[in-house]
Symmetry: C2
Subunit: 317 residues, 2 copies
Protein backbone atom coordinates (compact mmCIF):
# COMPACT_ATOMS: atom_id res chain seq x y z
CA UNK A 1 0.00 0.00 0.00
CA UNK A 2 1.51 3.30 -1.10
CA UNK A 3 1.36 6.49 0.88
CA UNK A 4 -0.18 9.58 -0.67
CA UNK A 5 3.28 10.93 -1.57
CA UNK A 6 4.44 7.67 -3.16
CA UNK A 7 1.14 7.44 -5.03
CA UNK A 8 1.66 10.88 -6.51
CA UNK A 9 5.23 10.02 -7.52
CA UNK A 10 3.90 6.96 -9.34
CA UNK A 11 1.51 9.25 -11.21
CA UNK A 12 4.55 11.24 -12.36
CA UNK A 13 3.86 14.24 -10.15
CA UNK A 14 6.95 16.45 -10.27
CA UNK A 15 6.30 18.31 -7.02
CA UNK A 16 5.84 15.06 -5.12
CA UNK A 17 9.03 13.63 -6.62
CA UNK A 18 10.98 16.79 -5.78
CA UNK A 19 9.69 16.67 -2.22
CA UNK A 20 10.63 13.02 -1.79
CA UNK A 21 14.12 13.59 -3.20
CA UNK A 22 14.54 16.46 -0.75
CA UNK A 23 13.55 14.15 2.08
CA UNK A 24 16.04 11.56 0.82
CA UNK A 25 18.82 14.14 0.73
CA UNK A 26 18.04 15.16 4.27
CA UNK A 27 17.88 11.52 5.33
CA UNK A 28 14.42 11.89 6.81
CA UNK A 29 13.18 8.62 8.29
CA UNK A 30 9.90 8.51 6.36
CA UNK A 31 11.80 8.72 3.07
CA UNK A 32 12.83 5.08 3.53
CA UNK A 33 9.24 3.96 3.78
CA UNK A 34 8.26 5.91 0.71
CA UNK A 35 11.16 4.38 -1.17
CA UNK A 36 10.19 0.92 0.00
CA UNK A 37 6.75 1.34 -1.44
CA UNK A 38 8.12 2.72 -4.73
CA UNK A 39 10.71 -0.03 -5.13
CA UNK A 40 8.37 -2.67 -6.64
CA UNK A 41 7.57 -0.16 -9.40
CA UNK A 42 11.20 0.43 -10.37
CA UNK A 43 13.54 -1.34 -12.77
CA UNK A 44 12.03 -0.09 -16.01
CA UNK A 45 14.13 3.00 -16.77
CA UNK A 46 17.43 2.83 -18.61
CA UNK A 47 20.23 4.31 -16.51
CA UNK A 48 23.03 6.10 -18.33
CA UNK A 49 26.03 7.33 -16.33
CA UNK A 50 27.79 10.30 -17.93
CA UNK A 51 31.11 11.28 -16.46
CA UNK A 52 34.02 13.53 -17.31
CA UNK A 53 36.32 16.12 -15.77
CA UNK A 54 35.08 19.67 -15.23
CA UNK A 55 35.10 21.64 -18.46
CA UNK A 56 34.67 18.76 -20.91
CA UNK A 57 31.15 19.95 -21.65
CA UNK A 58 28.99 17.45 -19.80
CA UNK A 59 26.05 19.78 -19.25
CA UNK A 60 25.97 20.97 -22.87
CA UNK A 61 26.15 17.41 -24.12
CA UNK A 62 23.39 16.24 -21.79
CA UNK A 63 21.32 19.21 -22.86
CA UNK A 64 21.61 18.11 -26.51
CA UNK A 65 20.95 14.46 -25.64
CA UNK A 66 17.76 15.39 -23.83
CA UNK A 67 16.54 17.12 -26.98
CA UNK A 68 17.10 13.98 -29.06
CA UNK A 69 15.55 11.59 -26.54
CA UNK A 70 12.52 13.86 -26.29
CA UNK A 71 12.15 13.91 -30.08
CA UNK A 72 12.16 10.11 -29.96
CA UNK A 73 9.25 10.29 -27.54
CA UNK A 74 11.12 9.27 -24.39
CA UNK A 75 10.76 10.96 -21.03
CA UNK A 76 14.04 11.87 -19.38
CA UNK A 77 15.34 12.22 -15.84
CA UNK A 78 18.68 13.91 -15.12
CA UNK A 79 20.61 13.64 -11.86
CA UNK A 80 23.49 16.11 -11.71
CA UNK A 81 25.90 15.34 -8.93
CA UNK A 82 27.20 18.68 -7.97
CA UNK A 83 30.57 18.89 -6.29
CA UNK A 84 30.68 22.64 -5.93
CA UNK A 85 31.19 24.89 -3.04
CA UNK A 86 28.56 27.48 -2.23
CA UNK A 87 31.28 30.01 -3.07
CA UNK A 88 31.39 28.99 -6.71
CA UNK A 89 27.67 28.88 -7.20
CA UNK A 90 27.91 31.24 -10.14
CA UNK A 91 29.82 29.07 -12.56
CA UNK A 92 27.77 25.97 -11.91
CA UNK A 93 24.51 27.85 -11.86
CA UNK A 94 25.22 28.91 -15.44
CA UNK A 95 25.55 25.27 -16.42
CA UNK A 96 22.36 24.31 -14.72
CA UNK A 97 20.43 27.18 -16.20
CA UNK A 98 21.65 26.17 -19.63
CA UNK A 99 20.32 22.68 -19.05
CA UNK A 100 17.11 24.06 -17.66
CA UNK A 101 15.95 25.12 -21.13
CA UNK A 102 14.04 21.86 -20.83
CA UNK A 103 12.52 22.98 -17.57
CA UNK A 104 9.14 23.82 -19.05
CA UNK A 105 8.99 20.39 -20.67
CA UNK A 106 7.05 18.08 -18.35
CA UNK A 107 8.78 15.08 -19.91
CA UNK A 108 12.09 16.19 -18.40
CA UNK A 109 12.93 16.17 -14.70
CA UNK A 110 16.30 17.54 -13.59
CA UNK A 111 17.69 17.42 -10.07
CA UNK A 112 21.08 18.40 -8.68
CA UNK A 113 22.30 16.42 -5.71
CA UNK A 114 24.72 18.09 -3.35
CA UNK A 115 27.66 15.98 -2.31
CA UNK A 116 27.94 16.09 1.41
CA UNK A 117 27.79 14.03 4.52
CA UNK A 118 29.51 10.74 5.10
CA UNK A 119 31.42 9.07 2.34
CA UNK A 120 28.96 6.68 0.78
CA UNK A 121 26.08 8.96 1.57
CA UNK A 122 26.23 10.21 -1.97
CA UNK A 123 25.67 6.76 -3.48
CA UNK A 124 22.69 6.25 -1.25
CA UNK A 125 21.01 9.51 -2.25
CA UNK A 126 21.88 8.97 -5.90
CA UNK A 127 20.54 5.44 -6.10
CA UNK A 128 17.42 6.47 -4.22
CA UNK A 129 16.89 9.39 -6.58
CA UNK A 130 17.26 7.03 -9.55
CA UNK A 131 14.48 4.92 -8.03
CA UNK A 132 12.22 7.96 -7.63
CA UNK A 133 12.67 8.99 -11.28
CA UNK A 134 12.25 5.38 -12.37
CA UNK A 135 9.01 5.09 -10.40
CA UNK A 136 7.83 8.39 -11.90
CA UNK A 137 7.94 6.61 -15.25
CA UNK A 138 11.01 8.27 -16.79
CA UNK A 139 12.20 6.15 -19.71
CA UNK A 140 15.84 7.12 -19.45
CA UNK A 141 17.78 8.55 -16.52
CA UNK A 142 21.07 10.36 -17.07
CA UNK A 143 23.40 10.53 -14.07
CA UNK A 144 26.07 13.21 -14.49
CA UNK A 145 29.24 13.04 -12.35
CA UNK A 146 32.75 14.49 -12.46
CA UNK A 147 34.22 11.03 -12.06
CA UNK A 148 36.59 11.96 -9.28
CA UNK A 149 35.13 10.36 -6.17
CA UNK A 150 34.72 6.71 -5.30
CA UNK A 151 30.99 7.11 -4.87
CA UNK A 152 30.68 8.53 -8.39
CA UNK A 153 32.67 5.62 -9.79
CA UNK A 154 30.34 3.17 -8.12
CA UNK A 155 27.43 4.92 -9.79
CA UNK A 156 29.03 4.72 -13.24
CA UNK A 157 29.91 1.08 -12.65
CA UNK A 158 26.34 0.09 -11.95
CA UNK A 159 24.69 2.18 -14.65
CA UNK A 160 23.28 0.24 -17.59
CA UNK A 161 25.50 2.28 -19.86
CA UNK A 162 28.59 4.25 -18.83
CA UNK A 163 29.57 7.17 -21.06
CA UNK A 164 32.97 8.77 -20.46
CA UNK A 165 33.56 12.21 -21.97
CA UNK A 166 37.05 13.44 -22.80
CA UNK A 167 38.31 16.47 -24.68
CA UNK A 168 41.39 16.91 -26.86
CA UNK A 169 43.04 18.97 -24.13
CA UNK A 170 44.11 15.73 -22.51
CA UNK A 171 46.40 15.45 -19.54
CA UNK A 172 44.60 17.29 -16.80
CA UNK A 173 41.25 16.07 -18.01
CA UNK A 174 42.29 12.46 -17.79
CA UNK A 175 44.11 13.03 -14.53
CA UNK A 176 40.91 13.73 -12.72
CA UNK A 177 39.52 10.34 -13.68
CA UNK A 178 39.90 7.84 -10.95
CA UNK A 179 41.18 4.37 -11.55
CA UNK A 180 38.35 2.30 -12.88
CA UNK A 181 36.43 5.00 -14.69
CA UNK A 182 38.04 4.54 -18.09
CA UNK A 183 37.87 0.78 -17.70
CA UNK A 184 34.16 1.02 -16.95
CA UNK A 185 33.31 2.99 -20.11
CA UNK A 186 30.83 1.48 -22.55
CA UNK A 187 31.01 4.50 -24.84
CA UNK A 188 33.74 7.10 -25.17
CA UNK A 189 32.88 10.61 -26.29
CA UNK A 190 35.53 13.02 -27.51
CA UNK A 191 33.79 16.35 -27.12
CA UNK A 192 35.05 19.65 -28.53
CA UNK A 193 36.18 17.49 -31.45
CA UNK A 194 36.78 20.62 -33.55
CA UNK A 195 39.82 21.42 -31.47
CA UNK A 196 43.26 20.22 -32.46
CA UNK A 197 44.23 16.89 -30.98
CA UNK A 198 40.88 15.12 -31.29
CA UNK A 199 42.17 12.61 -33.85
CA UNK A 200 45.22 12.01 -31.74
CA UNK A 201 43.16 11.37 -28.62
CA UNK A 202 40.98 9.01 -30.64
CA UNK A 203 44.06 7.06 -31.70
CA UNK A 204 45.25 6.86 -28.09
CA UNK A 205 41.88 5.48 -27.03
CA UNK A 206 41.88 3.02 -29.92
CA UNK A 207 45.31 1.75 -28.92
CA UNK A 208 44.15 1.49 -25.33
CA UNK A 209 41.04 -0.47 -26.35
CA UNK A 210 43.16 -2.57 -28.71
CA UNK A 211 45.24 -3.76 -25.77
CA UNK A 212 42.27 -5.56 -24.33
CA UNK A 213 41.32 -8.95 -25.76
CA UNK A 214 37.58 -8.82 -26.38
CA UNK A 215 35.75 -12.12 -26.32
CA UNK A 216 33.30 -12.92 -29.11
CA UNK A 217 29.97 -11.34 -28.21
CA UNK A 218 31.61 -8.95 -25.77
CA UNK A 219 30.88 -5.23 -26.04
CA UNK A 220 33.71 -3.12 -27.40
CA UNK A 221 33.33 0.56 -26.55
CA UNK A 222 32.77 2.88 -29.48
CA UNK A 223 34.43 6.28 -29.69
CA UNK A 224 32.06 9.07 -30.72
CA UNK A 225 33.31 12.51 -31.73
CA UNK A 226 30.99 15.33 -30.74
CA UNK A 227 30.76 19.10 -30.69
CA UNK A 228 27.97 19.33 -28.17
CA UNK A 229 27.71 23.08 -28.42
CA UNK A 230 26.83 22.77 -32.14
CA UNK A 231 24.76 19.60 -31.61
CA UNK A 232 27.23 17.67 -33.79
CA UNK A 233 27.59 13.94 -33.16
CA UNK A 234 24.86 13.85 -30.52
CA UNK A 235 22.45 11.77 -32.61
CA UNK A 236 25.24 9.29 -33.19
CA UNK A 237 25.77 9.17 -29.43
CA UNK A 238 22.05 8.63 -28.78
CA UNK A 239 22.10 5.81 -31.38
CA UNK A 240 25.09 4.23 -29.68
CA UNK A 241 23.36 4.40 -26.28
CA UNK A 242 20.34 2.65 -27.82
CA UNK A 243 22.59 0.10 -29.53
CA UNK A 244 24.29 -0.61 -26.19
CA UNK A 245 20.94 -1.04 -24.48
CA UNK A 246 19.95 -3.62 -27.12
CA UNK A 247 23.26 -5.41 -26.57
CA UNK A 248 22.64 -5.44 -22.81
CA UNK A 249 19.23 -7.05 -23.25
CA UNK A 250 20.22 -9.61 -25.89
CA UNK A 251 23.44 -10.66 -24.13
CA UNK A 252 22.05 -11.04 -20.63
CA UNK A 253 24.49 -8.35 -19.46
CA UNK A 254 21.58 -6.15 -18.36
CA UNK A 255 20.58 -8.75 -15.78
CA UNK A 256 24.17 -8.93 -14.52
CA UNK A 257 24.45 -5.16 -14.18
CA UNK A 258 21.14 -4.86 -12.40
CA UNK A 259 22.34 -7.50 -9.98
CA UNK A 260 25.49 -5.49 -9.39
CA UNK A 261 23.37 -2.42 -8.72
CA UNK A 262 21.20 -4.34 -6.26
CA UNK A 263 24.34 -5.65 -4.56
CA UNK A 264 25.89 -2.19 -4.25
CA UNK A 265 22.66 -0.73 -2.96
CA UNK A 266 22.33 -3.48 -0.39
CA UNK A 267 25.89 -2.90 0.83
CA UNK A 268 25.31 0.84 1.06
CA UNK A 269 22.11 0.22 3.01
CA UNK A 270 23.89 -2.11 5.42
CA UNK A 271 26.68 0.40 5.98
CA UNK A 272 24.15 3.16 6.51
CA UNK A 273 22.28 1.16 9.11
CA UNK A 274 25.38 0.22 11.04
CA UNK A 275 26.81 3.71 11.00
CA UNK A 276 23.58 5.32 12.08
CA UNK A 277 23.11 2.76 14.79
CA UNK A 278 26.54 3.18 16.28
CA UNK A 279 26.82 6.94 15.86
CA UNK A 280 23.45 7.66 17.35
CA UNK A 281 24.34 5.73 20.46
CA UNK A 282 27.93 6.87 20.60
CA UNK A 283 26.98 10.53 20.70
CA UNK A 284 25.18 10.13 23.97
CA UNK A 285 27.18 10.59 27.11
CA UNK A 286 30.87 11.38 27.27
CA UNK A 287 32.16 7.87 26.63
CA UNK A 288 33.25 8.86 23.12
CA UNK A 289 34.89 12.10 24.26
CA UNK A 290 36.92 10.28 26.88
CA UNK A 291 38.06 7.76 24.31
CA UNK A 292 39.09 10.56 21.93
CA UNK A 293 41.02 12.20 24.75
CA UNK A 294 42.88 8.95 25.33
CA UNK A 295 43.65 8.84 21.61
CA UNK A 296 45.01 12.39 21.54
CA UNK A 297 47.14 11.56 24.58
CA UNK A 298 48.27 8.35 22.83
CA UNK A 299 47.05 6.21 25.74
CA UNK A 300 45.25 3.98 23.27
CA UNK A 301 45.19 3.60 19.49
CA UNK A 302 42.32 3.96 17.01
CA UNK A 303 42.20 0.24 16.31
CA UNK A 304 41.77 -0.74 19.95
CA UNK A 305 39.41 2.16 20.62
CA UNK A 306 37.20 1.13 17.70
CA UNK A 307 37.07 -2.44 18.99
CA UNK A 308 36.07 -1.17 22.43
CA UNK A 309 33.19 0.81 21.00
CA UNK A 310 31.99 -2.02 18.81
CA UNK A 311 32.03 -4.45 21.72
CA UNK A 312 30.18 -1.96 23.86
CA UNK A 313 27.38 -1.36 21.39
CA UNK A 314 27.10 -4.60 19.49
CA UNK A 315 25.40 -6.30 22.42
CA UNK A 316 22.49 -3.92 22.05
CA UNK A 317 22.11 -4.45 18.30
Amino acid sequence: MESELAGKVLEGNILAAARLIGEIENEMPNAFEELNSLYPHTGRAGIVGITGAPGVGKSTLIDSLIGIFRKQGMTVGVIAIDPTSPFSGGAILGDRIRMQQHNLDKGVFIRSLATRGWAGGLSKATISTIHVMDAMGKDIILVETVGAGQAEIDIVRVADTAVVILTPEVGDEIQVMKAGILEAADIFVINKADRGGADNLKRVLEVMLGMKAYLPGEWKPAIILTEAIFNNGIEELADEIRRHKEFLTSSGELERRRKERARLELMVAIEGFLKNYIYQRIDKGDYLEKLIDSLVKRKTNPHSAALKIINRFSKQL
Copy 2:
Protein backbone atom coordinates in the same frame (compact mmCIF):
# COMPACT_ATOMS: atom_id res chain seq x y z
CA MET B 1 56.89 -3.71 22.48
CA GLU B 2 57.60 -2.88 18.84
CA SER B 3 58.07 -5.44 16.13
CA GLU B 4 61.24 -5.38 14.07
CA LEU B 5 59.47 -3.54 11.27
CA ALA B 6 57.98 -0.91 13.58
CA GLY B 7 61.35 -0.54 15.27
CA LYS B 8 63.03 0.20 11.96
CA VAL B 9 60.32 2.72 11.05
CA LEU B 10 60.99 4.52 14.33
CA GLU B 11 64.66 4.68 13.38
CA GLY B 12 63.60 6.47 10.19
CA ASN B 13 64.33 3.54 7.90
CA ILE B 14 62.83 4.37 4.50
CA LEU B 15 62.60 0.80 3.23
CA ALA B 16 60.78 -0.32 6.37
CA ALA B 17 58.38 2.63 6.12
CA ALA B 18 57.71 1.94 2.44
CA ARG B 19 57.02 -1.71 3.21
CA LEU B 20 54.62 -0.88 6.02
CA ILE B 21 52.76 1.64 3.86
CA GLY B 22 52.42 -1.02 1.18
CA GLU B 23 50.96 -3.39 3.74
CA ILE B 24 48.56 -0.67 4.87
CA GLU B 25 47.44 -0.07 1.27
CA ASN B 26 46.83 -3.76 0.81
CA GLU B 27 45.00 -3.92 4.15
CA MET B 28 47.18 -6.71 5.45
CA PRO B 29 46.17 -7.74 8.95
CA ASN B 30 49.61 -7.33 10.53
CA ALA B 31 49.71 -3.70 9.39
CA PHE B 32 47.22 -2.84 12.13
CA GLU B 33 49.49 -4.27 14.79
CA GLU B 34 52.48 -2.39 13.45
CA LEU B 35 50.44 0.79 13.42
CA ASN B 36 49.26 0.18 16.96
CA SER B 37 52.83 -0.04 18.17
CA LEU B 38 53.81 3.11 16.23
CA TYR B 39 50.86 5.13 17.45
CA PRO B 40 52.34 6.17 20.83
CA HIS B 41 55.25 7.71 18.91
CA THR B 42 53.07 9.89 16.71
CA GLY B 43 51.61 13.37 17.12
CA ARG B 44 54.83 15.35 16.66
CA ALA B 45 54.75 16.14 12.93
CA GLY B 46 52.95 19.15 11.50
CA ILE B 47 50.35 18.06 8.95
CA VAL B 48 49.72 20.37 6.00
CA GLY B 49 46.94 19.51 3.57
CA ILE B 50 47.49 20.93 0.10
CA THR B 51 44.58 20.76 -2.29
CA GLY B 52 43.58 22.15 -5.64
CA ALA B 53 42.11 21.09 -8.97
CA PRO B 54 44.26 19.29 -11.54
CA GLY B 55 46.55 21.68 -13.35
CA VAL B 56 46.86 24.37 -10.65
CA GLY B 57 50.46 23.32 -10.08
CA LYS B 58 50.28 21.40 -6.82
CA SER B 59 53.30 19.22 -7.51
CA THR B 60 55.52 22.09 -8.60
CA LEU B 61 54.51 24.10 -5.57
CA ILE B 62 55.15 21.21 -3.20
CA ASP B 63 58.49 20.65 -4.89
CA SER B 64 59.49 24.25 -4.13
CA LEU B 65 58.12 24.07 -0.59
CA ILE B 66 60.18 20.97 0.13
CA GLY B 67 63.30 22.88 -0.89
CA ILE B 68 62.56 25.67 1.57
CA PHE B 69 61.65 23.39 4.47
CA ARG B 70 64.84 21.41 3.87
CA LYS B 71 66.91 24.63 3.92
CA GLN B 72 65.29 25.40 7.28
CA GLY B 73 66.56 22.04 8.53
CA MET B 74 63.21 20.24 8.61
CA THR B 75 62.61 16.71 7.37
CA VAL B 76 59.63 16.35 5.07
CA GLY B 77 57.10 13.65 4.22
CA VAL B 78 54.82 13.95 1.21
CA ILE B 79 51.69 11.90 0.62
CA ALA B 80 50.34 12.35 -2.91
CA ILE B 81 46.84 11.03 -3.29
CA ASP B 82 46.68 9.91 -6.83
CA PRO B 83 43.31 9.72 -8.49
CA THR B 84 44.55 8.53 -11.86
CA SER B 85 43.73 5.62 -14.00
CA PRO B 86 46.50 3.26 -15.03
CA PHE B 87 45.76 4.47 -18.55
CA SER B 88 46.93 7.97 -17.78
CA GLY B 89 50.06 6.94 -15.93
CA GLY B 90 52.19 9.10 -18.21
CA ALA B 91 50.92 12.50 -17.27
CA ILE B 92 51.01 11.87 -13.56
CA LEU B 93 54.31 10.09 -13.69
CA GLY B 94 55.82 13.28 -15.06
CA ASP B 95 54.55 15.15 -12.03
CA ARG B 96 55.89 12.61 -9.64
CA ILE B 97 59.24 12.47 -11.34
CA ARG B 98 59.48 16.22 -11.12
CA MET B 99 58.87 16.01 -7.42
CA GLN B 100 61.34 13.18 -7.10
CA GLN B 101 64.25 15.55 -7.58
CA HIS B 102 64.33 15.30 -3.80
CA ASN B 103 64.46 11.54 -4.00
CA LEU B 104 68.16 11.31 -3.22
CA ASP B 105 67.63 13.48 -0.15
CA LYS B 106 67.18 11.19 2.85
CA GLY B 107 65.34 13.97 4.66
CA VAL B 108 62.48 13.70 2.18
CA PHE B 109 60.09 10.77 1.89
CA ILE B 110 57.45 10.81 -0.87
CA ARG B 111 54.68 8.28 -1.34
CA SER B 112 51.77 8.16 -3.75
CA LEU B 113 48.63 6.50 -2.50
CA ALA B 114 46.29 5.00 -5.04
CA THR B 115 42.64 5.76 -4.50
CA ARG B 116 40.76 2.54 -4.66
CA GLY B 117 38.65 0.13 -2.71
CA TRP B 118 35.75 1.05 -0.53
CA ALA B 119 34.71 4.61 -0.01
CA GLY B 120 36.45 5.67 3.16
CA GLY B 121 39.30 3.30 2.51
CA LEU B 122 41.29 6.23 1.27
CA SER B 123 41.03 8.12 4.54
CA LYS B 124 42.14 5.07 6.41
CA ALA B 125 45.24 4.53 4.29
CA THR B 126 46.03 8.24 4.28
CA ILE B 127 45.76 8.70 8.04
CA SER B 128 47.77 5.53 8.61
CA THR B 129 50.46 6.73 6.21
CA ILE B 130 50.58 10.05 8.06
CA HIS B 131 51.22 8.09 11.26
CA VAL B 132 54.04 6.12 9.63
CA MET B 133 55.79 9.29 8.43
CA ASP B 134 55.17 10.92 11.80
CA ALA B 135 56.69 7.93 13.61
CA MET B 136 59.65 8.05 11.21
CA GLY B 137 60.39 11.46 12.65
CA LYS B 138 59.37 13.67 9.72
CA ASP B 139 58.93 17.24 10.99
CA ILE B 140 56.34 18.23 8.43
CA ILE B 141 54.02 16.08 6.33
CA LEU B 142 52.42 17.46 3.19
CA VAL B 143 49.26 15.71 2.02
CA GLU B 144 48.42 16.52 -1.60
CA THR B 145 44.86 15.95 -2.88
CA VAL B 146 42.73 17.10 -5.79
CA GLY B 147 40.00 18.14 -3.40
CA ALA B 148 37.23 16.41 -5.27
CA GLY B 149 36.25 13.45 -3.10
CA GLN B 150 34.69 13.39 0.34
CA ALA B 151 37.60 11.40 1.75
CA GLU B 152 40.05 14.06 0.58
CA ILE B 153 37.96 16.78 2.17
CA ASP B 154 38.03 14.95 5.45
CA ILE B 155 41.80 14.85 5.22
CA VAL B 156 42.07 18.58 4.58
CA ARG B 157 39.65 19.24 7.41
CA VAL B 158 41.74 17.43 9.96
CA ALA B 159 45.13 18.68 8.80
CA ASP B 160 46.82 21.19 11.10
CA THR B 161 46.95 23.61 8.20
CA ALA B 162 44.83 23.47 5.06
CA VAL B 163 46.28 25.16 1.97
CA VAL B 164 43.96 25.63 -1.03
CA ILE B 165 45.58 26.40 -4.37
CA LEU B 166 43.72 28.24 -7.09
CA THR B 167 44.81 29.72 -10.40
CA PRO B 168 43.56 32.77 -12.27
CA GLU B 169 41.81 30.56 -14.82
CA VAL B 170 38.93 30.25 -12.41
CA GLY B 171 35.62 28.60 -13.15
CA ASP B 172 36.47 25.02 -13.92
CA GLU B 173 39.23 25.02 -11.34
CA ILE B 174 36.88 26.09 -8.60
CA GLN B 175 34.16 23.80 -9.82
CA VAL B 176 36.14 20.74 -8.91
CA MET B 177 36.29 21.86 -5.29
CA LYS B 178 33.70 20.17 -3.22
CA ALA B 179 31.56 22.03 -0.77
CA GLY B 180 33.57 22.57 2.37
CA ILE B 181 37.03 22.78 0.82
CA LEU B 182 37.17 26.55 0.42
CA GLU B 183 35.59 27.01 3.83
CA ALA B 184 38.27 24.80 5.35
CA ALA B 185 41.19 26.80 3.94
CA ASP B 186 43.68 28.31 6.37
CA ILE B 187 45.80 29.70 3.57
CA PHE B 188 44.86 30.49 -0.01
CA VAL B 189 47.47 30.32 -2.74
CA ILE B 190 46.92 31.90 -6.12
CA ASN B 191 49.45 30.09 -8.25
CA LYS B 192 50.45 31.08 -11.79
CA ALA B 193 50.03 34.62 -10.48
CA ASP B 194 51.80 35.99 -13.55
CA ARG B 195 48.76 35.17 -15.63
CA GLY B 196 46.03 37.70 -16.21
CA GLY B 197 43.22 37.55 -13.70
CA ALA B 198 45.28 36.90 -10.57
CA ASP B 199 44.45 40.27 -9.01
CA ASN B 200 40.82 39.77 -9.86
CA LEU B 201 40.75 36.33 -8.24
CA LYS B 202 42.44 37.81 -5.19
CA ARG B 203 39.72 40.43 -4.92
CA VAL B 204 37.03 37.75 -5.23
CA LEU B 205 38.64 35.79 -2.41
CA GLU B 206 38.98 38.93 -0.29
CA VAL B 207 35.30 39.70 -0.75
CA MET B 208 34.46 36.12 0.11
CA LEU B 209 36.59 36.24 3.26
CA GLY B 210 35.17 39.67 4.07
CA MET B 211 31.68 38.17 4.22
CA LYS B 212 32.63 36.13 7.23
CA ALA B 213 32.65 37.79 10.63
CA TYR B 214 35.95 36.80 12.25
CA LEU B 215 36.02 36.77 16.03
CA PRO B 216 38.91 38.45 17.83
CA GLY B 217 41.79 35.98 17.99
CA GLU B 218 40.33 33.90 15.16
CA TRP B 219 42.52 32.99 12.21
CA LYS B 220 41.77 34.84 9.01
CA PRO B 221 43.16 33.08 5.94
CA ALA B 222 45.91 34.90 4.08
CA ILE B 223 46.06 34.98 0.28
CA ILE B 224 49.54 34.29 -1.10
CA LEU B 225 50.43 34.89 -4.73
CA THR B 226 52.94 32.41 -6.13
CA GLU B 227 54.63 31.41 -9.35
CA ALA B 228 55.74 27.99 -8.19
CA ILE B 229 57.59 27.24 -11.40
CA PHE B 230 59.88 30.24 -10.79
CA ASN B 231 59.98 29.70 -7.02
CA ASN B 232 58.26 33.05 -6.51
CA GLY B 233 56.18 33.51 -3.37
CA ILE B 234 57.08 30.12 -1.95
CA GLU B 235 59.11 31.49 0.97
CA GLU B 236 56.17 33.69 1.84
CA LEU B 237 53.96 30.60 1.77
CA ALA B 238 56.37 28.66 4.00
CA ASP B 239 56.40 31.63 6.42
CA GLU B 240 52.61 31.69 6.46
CA ILE B 241 52.46 27.95 7.20
CA ARG B 242 54.86 28.52 10.12
CA ARG B 243 52.82 31.53 11.30
CA HIS B 244 49.66 29.40 11.19
CA LYS B 245 51.36 26.66 13.17
CA GLU B 246 52.29 29.21 15.86
CA PHE B 247 48.71 30.45 15.91
CA LEU B 248 47.45 26.88 16.32
CA THR B 249 49.68 26.28 19.30
CA SER B 250 49.09 29.60 21.05
CA SER B 251 45.32 29.58 20.51
CA GLY B 252 44.64 26.00 21.55
CA GLU B 253 43.24 25.32 18.09
CA LEU B 254 45.91 22.67 17.53
CA GLU B 255 44.47 20.58 20.34
CA ARG B 256 40.98 20.93 18.86
CA ARG B 257 42.12 19.88 15.40
CA ARG B 258 44.03 16.90 16.71
CA LYS B 259 40.90 15.85 18.55
CA GLU B 260 38.95 16.12 15.31
CA ARG B 261 41.55 13.98 13.60
CA ALA B 262 41.36 11.36 16.35
CA ARG B 263 37.58 11.41 16.10
CA LEU B 264 37.60 10.96 12.33
CA GLU B 265 40.15 8.19 12.56
CA LEU B 266 38.11 6.40 15.19
CA MET B 267 34.96 6.62 13.08
CA VAL B 268 36.81 5.32 10.03
CA ALA B 269 38.20 2.44 12.11
CA ILE B 270 34.73 1.57 13.40
CA GLU B 271 33.28 1.61 9.91
CA GLY B 272 36.12 -0.53 8.64
CA PHE B 273 35.60 -3.12 11.36
CA LEU B 274 31.87 -3.35 10.80
CA LYS B 275 32.17 -3.61 7.03
CA ASN B 276 34.86 -6.23 7.16
CA TYR B 277 32.96 -8.19 9.73
CA ILE B 278 29.71 -8.28 7.81
CA TYR B 279 31.20 -8.69 4.34
CA GLN B 280 33.46 -11.55 5.33
CA ARG B 281 30.53 -13.47 6.72
CA ILE B 282 28.07 -12.43 4.05
CA ASP B 283 30.23 -13.76 1.25
CA LYS B 284 30.00 -17.29 2.53
CA GLY B 285 27.11 -19.37 1.26
CA ASP B 286 24.45 -18.20 -1.15
CA TYR B 287 22.33 -16.31 1.36
CA LEU B 288 23.48 -12.99 -0.12
CA GLU B 289 22.95 -14.11 -3.73
CA LYS B 290 19.39 -15.20 -2.99
CA LEU B 291 18.68 -11.87 -1.34
CA ILE B 292 20.08 -10.00 -4.36
CA ASP B 293 17.90 -12.11 -6.65
CA SER B 294 14.86 -11.12 -4.62
CA LEU B 295 15.94 -7.49 -4.97
CA VAL B 296 16.32 -7.71 -8.74
CA LYS B 297 12.88 -9.34 -8.92
CA ARG B 298 11.52 -6.61 -6.64
CA LYS B 299 10.27 -9.15 -4.11
CA THR B 300 11.96 -7.19 -1.35
CA ASN B 301 13.61 -3.76 -1.07
CA PRO B 302 17.18 -2.80 -0.12
CA HIS B 303 16.11 -1.36 3.22
CA SER B 304 14.36 -4.53 4.37
CA ALA B 305 17.09 -6.76 2.91
CA ALA B 306 19.77 -4.82 4.78
CA LEU B 307 17.84 -5.17 8.03
CA LYS B 308 17.56 -8.91 7.45
CA ILE B 309 21.29 -9.27 7.01
CA ILE B 310 22.11 -7.14 10.01
CA ASN B 311 19.75 -9.13 12.22
CA ARG B 312 21.22 -12.36 10.93
CA PHE B 313 24.82 -11.40 11.63
CA SER B 314 24.60 -9.05 14.59
CA LYS B 315 23.97 -11.91 16.95
CA GLN B 316 27.40 -13.24 16.16
CA LEU B 317 29.17 -9.91 16.66
